[in-house]
Amino acid sequence: MFDFSTVTNWLHELLLGWMPAWLATTTECILVALFLLLAYSVLAMIYIMYERWVCGWIQCRRGPIRVGPAGLLQIFADVFKILTKEIITLWHTDKFLFFLAPFLVVLASVLTFACLPWGKGMQLIDFNIGAFFIIAVSSIGVLGILLAGWSSNSKYTLIGAMRSGAQMISYELSVGISVLTMVCLAGTMSITGIVEAQKDGWFLFTGHIPAIIAFLIYIVAANAENNRGPFDLPEAEHELTAGYHTEYSGIHYGLFYLAEYLNLFVVSGIASLLFLGGWMPLHIPGWEGFNTVMDYIPSTIWFLGKAFFMTFIFMWIRWSFPRVRIDQMLALEWRYLMPVGLVNLVVMAIVVTQGWHF
């Protein structure tokens, strides 16, 4: 299987031939950042179209078909529109916090985005505490949402922000616990380590029942963490018109929109990392021929494929279910998901120490 680190090593050597080591590292950092932002915006565009097509398909519609062949240019038209729209500033708002909020939301999603296992040797941020880092930075987002709701100085956004705060902080627990359960199985927090540990089979298959429970908890909690239906209460269109970002316009609104779609990719990516082996091809121990064939498919394709598959599941859920109510949402988390998740973590620990997993 092609290891992308050969490319990075070659580039590193090449740069060292021309410039001192500090400059080479800085150049590489800039290149990586450029790649990251490029991938971020391109993926956001792909995701918006993806959502529209899936949603149209589920709803017996055709989705966008008018602009360009098969509606492909629709997204460019939309991006252009949102970029050229006026940014409306309101009276009686805290302007600094009001403008800071969308950037905090985007910051959180870019940081988490950088942790994803893009392919063999394509790990951008690779700590030995990678999983922990993901949990930590992803919770910056809630700060941005709270700020947006608070600084808009509007009753609707305030309710939206308060709902969002309650929801995201609650569901972060479940996401964290299900991540911990899988870390427990992998025996490492390093993202490369978690992927490598799934060489002989993805955790969803090797982890026994606790892994499946953790997967289900993760799907529910990640949906809530992402403010997507059936947990889209913070922006519940039919109750709060647009929730915390009601007062935003132009590109500031666009940033919230962008972050929302990228967060969808991020949670799908983390799901594929923890449960479906990240970029790791499907390996079945003992089937050497099969494994070799699977290895011929590039690792990036594996990762993206899994992420898109997970996204499809999230979209399917979103477009099928009605929205839950705030008390039901909190009850679901604190009465069911978190206790089940905690017990599941203990069970997983027992399974791992006893070696009952595959």
Partner: protein, 549 residues
Amino acid sequence: MADLQQQIAALCPQAQFDTVDNLLMVTVDDAQWHALAQQLKENLHFDQLSCLAGVDWKDSIGVVYYLTNTDTQEMVHVKVATTDREHPMLHSVSDIWAVANYQEREAYDFFGIVFIGHPDMRRFFLRNDWVGHPLRKDYDENPELNPIRLEDEMNEDDTCTYIEDEDGNVKKVDGKVFEDDEYVINFGPQHPSTHGVLRYRVSLDGEMVKKVDVVSGYIHRGIEKMCESLTYPQTLLYTERMDYMAAHINRHCLCMCIEKALGIEVPRRAELIRLMMDELMRLSSHLLSYGCLTMDQGATTAFFYGFRERELIYDIFDRTCGARMSMSYSTIGGVVADVHPDFIKDVRHACDVIESKMKEYHQLFTGNVIARNRMVGVGELRKEDAINYCITGPSGRASGVHCDVRKTHPYSLYSEFDFDEVIRTEGDSMARYMVRMDEMLQSIKILRQACDKFEQCEGNEYIAEKVPKMIKLPAGHWYQQVEASRGAFGVYLESDGDPKPFQKPYRMHFQSPCFNLIGVVDLTCRDNMIADLITITASIDFVIPDIDR
């Protein structure tokens, strides 16, 4: 009826009696009215105030009340008037029939009649700085008096009530709708879930709703006022612009009312066509209400499923009437044109498709655990309240009230058809939703029978031959009710028998079902959450132009 007359005469010896439009009419003075009203409700069980129409008779000004006994479905109407045109005052009956609360506010708005004892005597539709009361015959229409105002309405929190002391002196007491320290949030007039331009002012405690104040009139077009300057065939047009989801049914009602006044017999074929159009309209309305209810709770996909089948019905309207909305199809004496040759085939096809897709709706939404949690037990409306607030239609039947006009006062050809009145007893949002779903099956049943009857029907006369070109009604008043998609729709029509050509109605009042439906928003939503407010209002299912008229 003579029996009833004796009973009422025993209760109130001063009352005068008359029989108008096959109904007993009682005329009493305002002094005896409140006591009589109490007696009518308690002793004679007239527990529902079906219609309240303010009328300006030039020499006097007053109100006509239509009362219904929900056990026997007997109706009686009471006329109460005052000759004091400067400061007309009547006693409020909002403490006896809760529905009178908003109805009296409307009468105050249009006629300037102050109701003594009414808890919240504000205008209902017009701004509080409006000059004059537009439906009075001496109303000054000078546009300079009421220019288009560009500033906000002032003091919208102010309200007042008129209290009568023991000596008969009436005193005005000011009050406030909301206290200063309440967290009041605006829902509407531009809000995705009010389905139009209705506005609630909601007092919140966290996520809990403490009080809802309905502010109406954003789409008020003064249809009743406009009708007074149009000839009868012209007024038909406005019926479709009230509840546009019951366009055929409302128009059918006004046509029947005028036909009743003129004594025109409608050909059977025309009556069958009207009836089928009514039922198609009801199907389309319930499909829309399914879609909106599901979408308001976030299930966007279910919305499209409902709209997909609705398209079949709209195609039928399009082929026969030439329009998808505001069809203008019924007319005085029949319908304007014969149906499309494929009409029966299309109707049968639509019935088959919708019936088969009903299963899909239930699978997608009804059984969903989130949907059930959101709707079961939410916004319960007890049977007594439903009667007291005159909640009719699917919402009333969900609370166990036997109120289907097709059964209680059969009109058109409904007595020939075999169908069930869907009644549930829970009274919650789920029951209201399920009543609509089951009613769709009943409508399909009626439509299938109607198709058979239509094929057997002899003659191809779709409009009565003897409709006069110039429609002139004798002096008098008439009331006609039909079962519209959202409840009992009534037309109160009064004619002064003007002998000149192009006679215009003296007074036309539309008793729209949705007007009564918003009356229970505060009652049902109080102490529920914001999300429940949306669920409850969606399940009550009102159409805003029908409230505002």
